[in-house]
Symmetry: C2
Subunit: 246 residues, 2 copies
């Protein structure tokens, strides 16, 4: 429908963006089904937590990169909240610290996690591609790439209930990262969606916004592909990557 010469009305563009999520968001990936369904070993969950930590730790880098490019105080104030959410207001607070609690809760050494030593190279390449995208692309596309948050409350709800029900070594405290995300993500994605619907006016801009969301879905999906290959089937971690204790 985006091949047409006329731009879409905002509601139609929103439908198109939601359709992309319905087809490509990583809740559809088999690794997530295994994770939430209790089908993974503790070592496999450790691999997920370790690799996802790098993503979490780079999110405020990504947001600061965009913040530095935003032209108005109003936009910068809006985007600054994301830095507060992830970096916190004091040591031990914020999303990165909460993800580290998750990593520790599933049995990883925080120094090892923070070092990035056992990361899958594919994780680093995907996350770094996301930061580069936000640094280099037009602001409309950079903001549109954040719209995967439209779809995150569903996956978080599935994840928390599924992991608590299925892994007796996972506690509510271990999963403390996710609870604030259930309010932060909708607040953030409401703003980003309104911005994109307002700013993407030409067919070319609307296509670029949709492509940015597809790109971001690719980032998240490829991280799970790499985990699945290395730790599930065939289960061949690349040289130097984390190997769960037998």
């Amino acid at each position: 429908m985006l091949e047409a010469d006329a731009p879409l009305a905002p509601a139609a563009l929103e439908s198109e963006l939601r359709r992309i999520g319905a087809e490509r968001y990583h809740n559809l990936h088999p690794f997530h089904r295994l994770l939430h369904g209790g089908k993974l070993t503790r070592g496999q969950v450790q691999a997920w937590a370790l690799n996802r930590y790098y993503y979490q730790a780079q999110i405020p880098v990504k947001d600061a990169t965009l913040l530095a490019r935003l032209p108005t105080a109003a936009l910068r104030r809006e985007w600054r909240r994301r830095l507060v959410d992830h970096d916190g207001d004091a040591p031990g607070t914020g999303g990165i610290a909460r993800w580290m609690r998750l990593a520790e809760g599933v049995g990883l050494d925080p120094c090892y996690v923070e070092s990035g030593a056992g990361l899958l190279p594919a994780t680093r390449f995907a996350v770094d591609a996301y930061v580069a995208f936000v640094r280099e692309r037009p602001i409309l596309e950079a903001i549109a790439s954040s719209l995967t948050e439209l779809f995150s409350p569903t996956i978080i709800a599935e994840r928390v209930s599924g992991m608590l029900a299925n892994y007796d070594w996972v506690t509510e405290d271990t999963l403390a990262y996710f609870k604030p995300r259930l309010t932060q993500a909708p607040r953030d994605s409401d703003f980003a969606l309104a911005f994109v619907l307002e700013q993407a006016r030409t067919p070319a801009e609307q296509r670029a916004a949709c492509d940015a969301l597809r790109f971001k879905c690719d980032v998240l999906w490829s991280m799970l592909d790499a985990l699945h290959h290395a730790y599930v089937t065939p289960g061949l971690p690349p040289p130097g990557a984390f190997r769960p204790a037998p």
Copy 2:
């Protein structure tokens, strides 16, 4: 051995670099064993050729990025040969064009290949990470990252003989890319190795050179991990990626 305070002698540094290749070069990846041993379908070989095309097409981008940072005419002349090798002197010549003949030879539409439409996102992220590395890191590390070419003549010999013996739809003409590489790669890696052995004098520089080679091995390895996941086991191409004809 690189933990010591004293720098390695050049011969010891060369041994260390060769040891990294012996442990991490992608000739050890199961996908290559399948490819060379005739165990892949034509569709799987197409997926390999398609994704590897993006790598080939970005190699002169990577080399031009480095060329623009080299401080002397002598170094630039040396590095310029790589551009000639890959971009050629006229349309239809050079390594990119020869790789496109390989892609066509295994049955792909060249317009599709060139568009990048069916690429695995992980391929793009890995290759772009390589170009970014060469743009951002010290020249010593950028040059050291090319040292995977020390190990390429072996894999090329295995590949050409294995593919010709095992796939009756692969011809010598299809594999024309590889023959010039058997002389180009050693010439290039002789220069790069001599540069690294001469310039990496402190333990920190020597460690950085080794890490650069490890990084490049990770790039190549992660490309095969992504192919293996998408097209071999479990064989789940991500949304939007190339799907072989049934």
